[in-house]
């Protein structure tokens, strides 16, 4: 990678625009997800543990394995679920979103970290969804869709979600008004 790094010493991208003057997406300050949303995430793990545990118990009860193997399987399952819960907990701290004047950024993933960037100019529509567990804990999810792909922001309070949706709608509306049909 030495070659690449050395390339950065000279002005990158020729002389069309100074890359240093561009807003740096990497320096963003991400807004973390509401801490209480962790309960929603853990509830999902709990539900899966209960359903999976019940199915596994039924399977084990009817199988002809020795007691020790049955215990191994059950303990293994519990450990796996605990590991999942731990991953959910650690991943939760990484989640965050940033809203800039021209685009929206979402950060997620513990092992595979990802940052997604979606400019408002490409937003097709925006929707709010509320799952059953989310509603129990009073949370909403905002889905911002571009043509082809979405950014999904979990863990917003319903009024925050409503405000964000309205902000995006107004932004998209204003940006669309200045657009035109043409070649370039």
């Amino acid at each position: 990678m030495n070659k690449l790094e050395s390339d950065h010493d000279e002005p990158f991208y020729n002389n069309w625009v100074s890359i240093n003057e561009l807003p740096r997406a990497s320096d963003l300050e991400f807004t973390p997800v509401d801490p209480e949303y962790l309960y929603v995430r853990l509830s999902n793990v709990l539900i899966m543990t209960i359903i999976g545990g019940l199915l596994l118990t039924v399977f084990i009860l009817f199988s002809a394995m020795s007691f020790i193997y049955k215990m191994y399987i059950l303990v293994g399952f519990v450990l796996l679920m605990l590991l999942w819960a731990l991953l959910v907990y650690l991943e939760f701290k990484i989640r965050g979103y940033a809203i800039r004047s021209q685009d929206i950024v979402y950060r997620s993933g513990l092992i595979f970290r990802q940052r997604q960037y979606l400019p408002f100019r490409r937003v097709q529509h925006c929707k709010i969804t509320e799952g059953l567990i989310e509603r129990l804990f009073n949370f909403s999810t905002v889905v911002v869709s571009a043509a082809g792909d979405d950014i999904v922001i979990h863990g917003l309070r319903p009024d925050e979600a409503q405000n964000l949706q309205q902000f995006i709608n107004e932004k998209v509306d204003a940006l669309t008004k200045e657009m035109h049909y043409g070649k370039r």
Binding site: F12, T129, A146, G182
Partner: protein, 508 residues
């Protein structure tokens, strides 16, 4: 929130939701009825716990689905404002959707037999770039459906006119370009078409037929015998096997013959569809006419082209045969579609991509490559597990195939090395060009402002080494670049966002 009247679905729509709920559980209901019938003489759900559990498992989800259908019907509301269409739906999972009216691409009013019987209509509203339908308003009265459609069209037309008025009408009709191919060249193109998916099932069916012929202990192989073999008319006398032993072989044989036939038909359709090829580019539109038996005509507006890609495989590269594809948003489905142009001299590619962008061959570019660690990282994480699967399958086939299969370990290493070595990404002011390929080559040219979304992804190893995988999403397809310098990927994202946010032209 815009002011206006919220509309709900017409009452018959409730029946539709119930019937569709029942339809989706039809198989379970039939299964249950069958089970009940089987035990009818001695048991009923009231004296058999087993059957009662069956009943619960089969019927309960159906009842829940019906209730959820009814609640969904009650919860569904829509409001068409001056600028946006608002839809509130869902019972257990609530959804509040807002779609700007000028982003709506199509509104269709439909009626199937059920809707006809109930005298209501289905309104399908779609935006671009989604693989599934955006909004389906299932069950509105005729007048409401027509009103909704005409109101959307009126608003859309008005905003479109405003956009056109705001910009001086383009007097210049743009460049004009014609391109036609003689059938002689198309035949050359057709011969080198990738026939793997036709030849593979064909070869396998021949092998299977030969094995059946061998085990049947039949006489001299003749055409008649071949037909008898295919249709299973074997003479049992003189056969060393019982007739039923062939049933699974015939099952596989017919599957393979069907696969050969369908892939053959697909191949011939594809090839014959290219004869009499001509392309015209004028008034900012590409018009492609082609087809020998069935005639095809494709019209692609210039602004709908999201990116262009041209590619060739190893044999075609040696023979100088290439395929150019304009990837455009819209078309039959709202997802991306292809308009294909075969060409035979690499030099004319600059002319062919003119409808998308005029390329200045002298423009300076910044070239980036992918990190050499890609070779072993991808080998150990992707290719090695794949090789193990291939080798274990070969172990069950035959001894020498098993030994030969170890060759894939070497092949994949060479493959990864060549992939890394050939991978180039050239960054220009207005566009970027990705060149990749192991034996063949694929060039992908994308204007910066056609980007829809960008994504940087890092594994723990990549974080330590300052590398990243970059995904650039367009409305037609995604472009991914693995294992590039993190700083470079961030620069690309920043510049892509900058160009996208500055661009004020509609993409669709």
């Amino acid at each position: 929130m815009e002011k206006g009247n919220w509309y709900s679905l017409a009452p018959p729509a409730m029946l539709i939701t119930i019937l569709s709920a029942l339809r989706s559980y039809a198989l379970i209901v039939i299964y249950f009825a069958y089970r009940t019938y089987q035990r009818f003489d001695s048991l009923s759900i009231f004296n058999s716990f087993d059957l009662f559990i069956d009943f619960l498992i089969s019927i309960l989800p159906a009842i829940l689905v019906i209730i959820s259908g009814i609640m969904d019907y009650r919860r569904f509301r829509y409001l068409l404002g001056e600028e946006q269409l608002h839809i509130h739906s869902g019972w257990l999972r609530r959804e509040k959707k807002t779609i700007p009216v000028d982003k709506i691409q199509s509104v269709q009013i439909e009626q199937n037999w059920l809707y006809q019987m109930l005298n209501v209509y289905l309104v399908k509203i779609d935006t671009i770039g989604e693989d599934k339908l955006e909004v389906e308003i299932g069950g509105v009265w005729e007048q409401d459906a027509i009103d909704l459609k005409s109101k959307i069209q009126t608003i859309k037309k008005r905003t479109e006119d405003e956009h056109r008025m705001a910009e001086p009408t383009e007097v210049d009709a743009g460049i004009e370009y014609n391109y036609a191919l003689p059938n002689r060249l198309i035949s050359r193109y057709a011969i080198t078409e990738n026939m793997l998916w036709f030849l593979l099932p064909l070869a396998l069916s021949i092998i299977l037929l030969y094995r059946i012929y061998n085990s049947a202990d039949a006489g001299q192989l003749t055409w008649q015998l071949l037909i008898d073999l295919v249709f299973g008319n074997l003479d049992p006398t003189g056969s060393s096997l019982e007739p039923e032993d062939f049933s699974s072989s015939y099952f596989i044989l017919y599957g393979l013959l069907l696969a050969t036939f369908s892939s053959g038909m697909f191949f011939f359709n594809k090839v014959f569809g290219l004869f009499n090829y001509s392309m015209d580019f004028q008034n900012h539109e590409i018009q492609i006419r082609r087809g020998l038996i069935n005639k095809f005509e494709t019209i692609v507006p210039q602004r709908k082209i999201q990116f262009t890609t041209w590619y060739t495989n190893f044999i075609r590269r040696k023979l100088g045969i290439f395929t150019l594809s304009y990837k455009y948003a819209g078309g039959r489905k709202t997802l991306g579609a292809n308009a294909i142009v075969p060409f035979f001299e690499e030099d004319i590619v600059d002319e062919l991509i003119q409808p998308y962008i005029y390329v200045n061959p002298e423009e300076h570019c910044h070239t980036i490559t992918i990190s050499p660690v890609y070779v072993w990282r991808n080998y150990f994480l992707v290719k090695l597990p794949l090789s193990i699967v291939i080798i274990s399958i070969c172990y069950w086939i035959q001894e020498w195939v098993f030994y030969l299969s170890f060759g894939v370990l070497i092949y994949f290493w060479i493959y990864n090395t060549l992939y890394q070595r050939n991978f180039r990404m050239h960054l220009y002011e207005d566009y970027f060009l990705k060149v990749q390929g192991v034996w063949g080559r694929r060039h992908t040219l994308v204007l910066w402002e056609k980007l829809q979304k960008t994504e940087i992804r890092q594994s723990p190893y990549q974080r330590r080494k300052g590398l990243a995988n970059l995904s650039l999403h367009t409305a037609a397809s995604n472009i991914s670049i693995p294992y590039i310098n993190l700083k470079t990927s961030e620069d690309i994202v920043d510049y892509g966002l900058y160009r996208t946010e500055r661009s004020k032209v509609f993409l669709f």
